[in-house]
Amino acid sequence: MFNAILCRYGELGLKGDNRGYFEKTLLSNIVQVLEPLAGVSVKRLSGRILVTYQQNVESVLERLRLVFGLVSISPAIVVKPDVEEIYQAAEHLFSGFYNAKTFAVRCRRSDKRFPMKSPQLGAWLGSRIIENHPDLKVDLGSPDLAVNVEVRESLALVYAAVYPGPGGLPVSSSGHGVLLLSGGLDSPVAGWMAMKRGIKLTAVYYHSFPFTGDHAKQKVIDLARRLAAYNRGSMQLVIVDVASIQETIIERCPEKLRVTLLRRMMLRLAESLAAQIKAQVLITGDSVGQVASQTLESLNVISEAVDMLLLRPLCAMDKTEITALARQIATYETSILPYQDCCSLFLPRHPATRPALRETLQAEALVEWQPLLENAFNTREVINLAASLS
């Protein structure tokens, strides 16, 4: 009898004049992720979104749970706004909930032409239900089963369960960003957090063959596919080969600054990409103090390489918190595979933990980077990935 899912969004409602825009984005994101499924339709009710389906309820639910902006979802029964039909639907709820000893009926009526007023409808439904289930007691405070009824102009909704959604803002309602994605634990989580705040992502991965092998690249592709599930079902992954840049750094620059310089080059390449695809922000997985390149001094010197906005969603998180989130979003298993995303050959024995900007700029001045950067950028590989659901 269940034939629909009622989707609620919370924070969006607070956005004043922009509300329509947020709602439209959310609606189109839902349409996008459900598109591969047959027999599904999505429509806007006032303040709600209603998804009706003919089959595959699990697939529909699984996909909706990945749509940022949804605060909660409820499997529901859609019927005509007719008291007898509403009663039959309410009865159906009890068939799936054998252990209910207490219940409540909660009615709302947005179509004021409906013949009964909300309290009247509730009382009538309650007494019909008790007639059929003499053992049931009414408990308006905390019932085992709450029968929710919403009567609207052309339809009525009946539902019981309310499941939490992922929250956040609809992806792309905040804009477009470039995620620097490595094969590690942190950057996928950073990407997830950015998407949660409505940023649509394009991911960039810095490959460095033959310093790192194709297994490392495959790992990043798998991670990007997983993140795509949150990114309206797809992810563009841009792969830039930085081997010649790495070689030049090793050959021409002080050993202890290798990582600092490489990170600056990576940000510059990401900035070029952002300019090309009109993204407004760069996102990295840095967490303050985690490794040498993540001290405040390092982060300062590295960020200095670019002008555009750079966000580090994990900056104040501990490794244990990041790990827990990685498990939750199912990137953990891929991230812990051993293929290295940066060659051990490249890592200095004693990296600078507090690089000075002046020293870094002097080291950088030894090489004409522009042609190297341009060549790396121009030979980039672009892959469009469809989401993999876990």
Binding site: P210, E251, L345
Partner: protein, 390 residues
């Protein structure tokens, strides 16, 4: 063999299936697809193919046909051999010995037996990767029921004197059963269990240009052994499951080729190895050989060479060669995907850096001198490039 322009030197990991063997397998798959247990004519035809394959395998090994169990590969054969023998003989004693350089499909069953109350001991090897007879004899006791020592090691190519080791163990306790993992030995050294005086040995097809997913276990007719694979009673009740007829046919063809050409193939591979070492010696790059003297045909298998270049990590070198379409391996294929270094190289007491730097070059009779020349050119170019970077 294989795709043009590729130089495949990872033949200890797996080999290309010989085209005529692939054809024969396809013929069985498409036209002779009967189940050998079926009572109709198609079943009989399949049973005859299987029997012919078993006859070929038995004649290659010089054993009775009923002593050959066709398995899904050597890992299964090792598991069946060790667990089945331990289980059947636990009343005679619970002491088991295996060497420090065994394949994981021997080590893991041994660990399992140790958890089940068996007393499992590891026999060390000398710095060339050889088990010394007095060392083994010293470990054998009255309660020893089983000894397992691989004939040719997959990482360093060391060859054990299996006949001598079996004799040494039996001098102390004549009831000891002797198992040998002969995956890398078959087709490279003489493998005749009756002449070697051993009771069980494991084989795999895909190391000899045969298909993956098929192998064999030789079980001496007189041995006390329990089956662990119960069901329809195939393979004389010792390994249930519908027989892999195409696999067995492919395996038999591969085994027949390998046995028929054993001597010329070995001479060819030794001469390639010799050529490789001579060319490498002429380059101005220092390297060290891990394991036995590579040109001592008594202790070193013809097809495996394990070398380290000081200061260069194996995986980096591997990827550099990949750039020239030359495929080699670091350690063994299984352990190269884990970050920890190889237990075999550890057993040789090599310094950690040398173990991390180890690469394995493994030949097949299909390789030629031209390929060795290109390998050395590429190696020497890669080593000096990497040197310049470090």
């Amino acid at each position: 063999m294989g795709t043009d322009n590729i130089i495949y030197l990872d033949n200890a990991a797996t080999t290309a299936v010989a085209p005529e063997i692939a054809e024969a397998i396809k013929e069985i798959m498409v036209h002779n697809y009967g189940n050998p247990s079926s009572l109709h004519g198609l079943g009989l035809k399949a049973a005859n193919h299987l029997r012919a394959a078993r006859t070929t395998l038995a004649s290659c090994l010089g054993t009775g046909e009923d002593e050959i169990i066709v398995t899904s590969g050597a890992s299964e054969a090792n598991n069946l051999a060790l667990l089945g023998a331990a289980l059947a003989n636990q009343r005679k004693g619970r002491h088991i010995i295996y060497s420090a350089i065994e394949h994981p499909s021997v080590i893991e069953p041994m660990k399992f037996l140790s958890q089940k109350g068996f007393e499992v001991e590891v026999c060390p090897v000398n710095k060339h990767g050889i088990v010394e007879q007095p060392v083994l004899a010293d470990m054998v006791r009255e309660s020893t029921i089983l000894v397992s020592i691989m004939m040719v090691n997959n990482e360093i190519g060391s060859v054990q004197n299996i006949a001598g080791l079996a004799k040494a163990a039996r001098t102390v306790n004549q009831k000891v059963y002797f198992h040998s993992d002969c995956v890398q030995a078959f087709g490279k050294v003489m493998v005749k269990p009756r002449q070697l005086g051993i009771d069980m040995l494991s084989l795999s097809a895909h190391k000899l240009h045969g298909p993956k997913g098929v192998g064999a276990l030789y079980l001496n007719k007189g041995i006390k052994w329990n089956s662990l694979s119960l069901g329809g009673g195939q393979e004389g009740g010792r390994r249930s499951g519908t027989e892999n007829v195409p696999g067995a046919v492919g395996f038999a063809l591969a085994a027949e080729n390998a046995c028929k050409n054993l001597e010329p193939d070995c001479r060819h591979m030794y001469s390639l190895k010799e050529h490789l070492l001579r060319l490498l010696g002429e380059q101005d790059i220092p390297f060290a050989v891990n394991g036995p003297d590579p040109l001592d045909s008594l202790y070193s298998a013809p097809h495996i060479l394990n070398i380290s270049f000081p200061g260069i990590r194996g995986e980096v070198l591997m990827h550099f060669l990949e750039r020239d379409h030359i495929y080699i391996s670091t350690g063994s294929a299984c352990s190269s995907q884990k970050t920890k270094s190889s237990h075999v190289l550890k057993a040789l007491n090599l310094p950690g850096e040398r173990a991390d730097g180890a690469v394995r070059i493994s030949l097949s009779p299909c390789n030629n001198r031209q390929e060795i020349v290109r390998l050395v050119e590429s190696l020497s170019r890669a080593v000096s490039q990497i040197r310049d970077l470090v």
